[in-house]
């Protein structure tokens, strides 16, 4: 293990901070995963899905019910969670996507807000929390631990990070080299012209919703495990932190999103031991994304956008 001698670089005790660095990257992996899922959907459909967290939380609740109240095998529960994410997103995309297609991205985003509200209401109704009772969903990979630089991480955290990286690589390649990926980029560029080129626009968009939804379900499962108690309100509003990762990627670059997620997790974790700021570290995703947004807006661009009616 690490030696006892602490070395100071820039007056910082790295020995002391090492575990936080590791933990921060593990946390950032989860933010990055959700962030990539959000960006992919945005690139293909122009919809910024604010219901990402709510769908994942609902899927996790269903998985929890299956694990604890039925005798079905656990892998079926986990698969159902992922499939549920895909199904709900697909349903939303098929039923409401075309109607929103010509609207401003802002309006599309508010539509997903409505979905989040509906899911929150259903979850609060069907899965109320009890006093002494809490829902815990533990994935089998969470029982395997590895020591990295003085901190212990479990296999789930490593998987989340690995999954985020793999997803980024695969999606980047997919968008660049496959016909479907090209279709996504074309639709993002100009939906009408792409349609006239014979691309089955609605089917392509539906596939984007499905793919993003599967990621959403997987992220929900991983987050529910990593947060230990299935607090669906927290999971729903976690989308805001994942949104920060997506914004750092400027809603366009997958690699920057991955980096953004890791950065948010890293900074948030590093601030933990510093008493004066530790209470404010939960604001890390917000502050970082505000900085990025302001940087993006520094050049004044006047857009001929349709009025938001």
């Amino acid at each position: 293990m690490s030696s006892v001698v602490a070395f100071s670089v820039f007056g910082v005790d790295w020995e002391f901070l090492k575990p936080y660095i590791v933990l921060g990257l593990a946390l950032g992996g989860v933010y990055a995963l959700s962030g990539v899922g959000i960006v992919v959907l945005y690139k293909a459909t122009g919809v910024l899905n604010l219901a990402f967290g709510a769908v994942g939380a609902a899927g996790a609740l269903i998985a929890y019910w299956m694990v604890n109240h039925t005798s079905w095998p656990h892998w079926l529960a986990y698969t159902t969670c992922v499939a549920f994410g895909g199904a709900v997103n697909l349903l939303y995309g098929v039923v409401f996507g075309p109607a929103f297609a010509k609207r401003d991205p802002l309006v599309k985003m508010i539509g997903t807000l409505a979905l989040a509200l509906i899911l929150l209401g259903i979850m609060a109704w069907r899965a109320p929390a009890g006093g002494a009772f809490v829902r815990v969903l533990t994935l089998p990979s969470s029982t395997h631990y590895y020591t990295v630089f003085g901190a212990r991480v479990n296999l789930t955290q490593i998987l989340a990070l690995a999954f985020a990286i793999a997803l980024t690589i695969v999606t980047t390649l997919f968008l660049r080299y496959t016909a479907l990926g090209t279709a996504y980029r074309a639709i993002a560029n100009d939906r009408e012209i792409t349609a006239t080129l014979g691309v089955p626009v609605r089917r392509v968009e539906a596939s984007a919703w499905l793919g993003s939804g599967l990621v959403c379900g997987a992220a929900g499962l991983l987050l529910a495990d990593l947060y230990t108690s299935l607090d669906y309100t927290a999971l729903t509003f976690l989308v805001i932190s994942s949104l920060a990762a997506a914004l750092i990627g400027r809603l366009e670059s997958l690699w920057l999103t991955l980096f953004g997620g890791l950065l948010v997790g890293f900074v948030q974790s590093i601030l933990t031991p510093y008493g004066s700021v530790t209470a404010y570290r939960a604001a890390t995703p917000f502050v970082l994304s505000i900085i990025v947004l302001l940087w993006m807006g520094r050049r004044r661009v006047v857009v001929f956008a349709p009025s938001t009616r």
Partner: protein, 398 residues
């Protein structure tokens, strides 16, 4: 007052025969005010009056959204955070100074206005989606700060917070001396909120209103016409923050001892949802928003014994329905749909698919809500019907 104003307007060539509609509107508003100020306190119990006080306050916050989004096209997802800031400022000022209440209202409004402008200034270059996101993030940051410094409770220092149990809870934000009781304070709140609405209306009717309309239609055209876009956008932020700050001060005195639990993140979502459902383009919509946000939960829970979580579902479905087929919200769409229905029944127009689904979607929403309230043993039926509302709305498009 209304007649003279209308006559003056009639004198100007570009607004010819506007006398009657304006007189009618003023009479309706005056009538509603009379009912609100005199009939309600005389006939309703303390719990209703308390609820209607909240309705007035949140309507004012929604009016800020009408200014920002309805008139200028800028959406702010952080108005509840601004409300929280207003409440905090009012509470801190009241413990630190002895300002008379009307002065406290103005000072709180001014400080909140300054904060709102400070937040808005760097964000002005962003539009649409990005502005919405930055306000969401700013709201998140404000919530984290508030969770730490919490609300003043009579202590000293900047945060005004004491943790001595003997000192906690003894100081409350005082109401104006002649409006201490709940009924009297309710009337005070209604009057102040009406004044805020009047302030907004005055803006609409004069130069800033025209500037905002120009910016909303097309920013490049407005820029070309020589309109100072930055100034007008800031003005909108300033106005919205001011009236939200005043609402925050009213809220502080209503509650007495505000805390962070009064401003949950989900409230921002509910506010946007209800504002859009009510109608984001007119101030009537703001009043409907306040009613939905505060009166409905009270009715559901305290009067009808229905799980208030169903309201989240109703708001979500209503929001989707409004976005899809009725961007003007209930105040805009409902009369049109009922007129359509009337014409259909009278068989004056053929039933187009769009009209059919449009009517079906509003009916599904209403019937669904009624079913949720009445069929308490099987609310799933009402929920399915309510969820059908946006589906029908989507089918009524293209």
């Amino acid at each position: 007052m209304g007649a003279a104003h209308a006559q003056e307007r009639a004198g100007r060539p570009r607004l010819p025969s506007i006398n009657r509609p304006i007189i009618a509107r003023v009479l309706v508003i005056a009538g509603l005010l009379v009912v609100a100020l005199f009939v309600f306190p005389a006939t309703l119990g303390g719990d209703w009056i308390n609820t209607f006080t909240s309705v007035a306050i949140y309507s004012t916050v929604a009016a800020g959204l009408v200014v920002l989004y309805g008139r200028v096209g800028m959406i702010s997802l952080g108005q509840i955070a601004i409300l929280a800031i207003g409440t905090w400022v009012a509470t801190r000022l009241t413990f630190a100074t002895n300002l008379p209440f009307p002065v406290l209202l103005l000072v709180t409004g001014a400080i909140t206005c300054a904060i709102g402008v400070l937040i808005g200034l760097p964000a002005l270059r962003l539009s649409g989606l990005y502005l919405a996101l930055i306000t969401l993030m700013a709201a998140g940051a404000v919530n984290v700060v508030l969770a730490q410094i919490q609300f003043p409770n009579g202590g000293g220092g900047f945060t005004g917070r004491t943790d001595q149990p003997s000192a906690i809870g003894l100081k409350a934000v005082p109401r104006p001396k002649w409006a201490l009781g709940d009924n009297a304070y309710y009337r005070y709140v209604v009057v102040v909120c009406a004044l805020m609405f009047l302030l907004v209306l005055l803006h609409f009717a004069s130069k800033p209103g025209r500037g905002w309309a120009a910016i909303r239609e097309s920013e490049p055209a407005a820029l070309a016409a020589g309109i100072n876009i930055t100034l007008y956008k800031l003005w909108a932020f300033a106005l919205a923050s001011f009236i939200t700050g005043v609402a925050g001060c009213l809220l502080a005195a209503q509650i007495g001892q505000p805390n962070t639990y009064s401003f949950p993140t989900s409230d921002s979502l509910s506010l946007i949802a209800t504002a859009l459902i009510g109608g984001i383009f007119t101030l009537w919509g703001a009043i409907v928003a306040g009613v939905f946000m505060q009166l409905l939960p009270f009715l559901f829970q305290a009067q009808w014994g229905v799980n208030p979580n169903f309201l989240l579902i109703v708001f979500g479905c209503g929001l989707l329905q409004v976005l899809l087929s009725a961007p003007g919200g209930l105040t805009n769409q409902f009369p049109k749909d009922m007129a359509n229905l009337g014409r259909l029944i009278a068989r004056k127009v053929p039933l187009t698919r769009q009209a059919a689904f449009g009517i079906a979607s509003i009916l599904a929403l209403i019937v669904g809500i009624v079913l949720i309230i009445t069929l308490k043993s099987a609310p799933i039926v009402g929920i399915i019907v309510v969820v059908l509302s946006p589906v029908f709305a989507s089918l009524s498009q293209d």
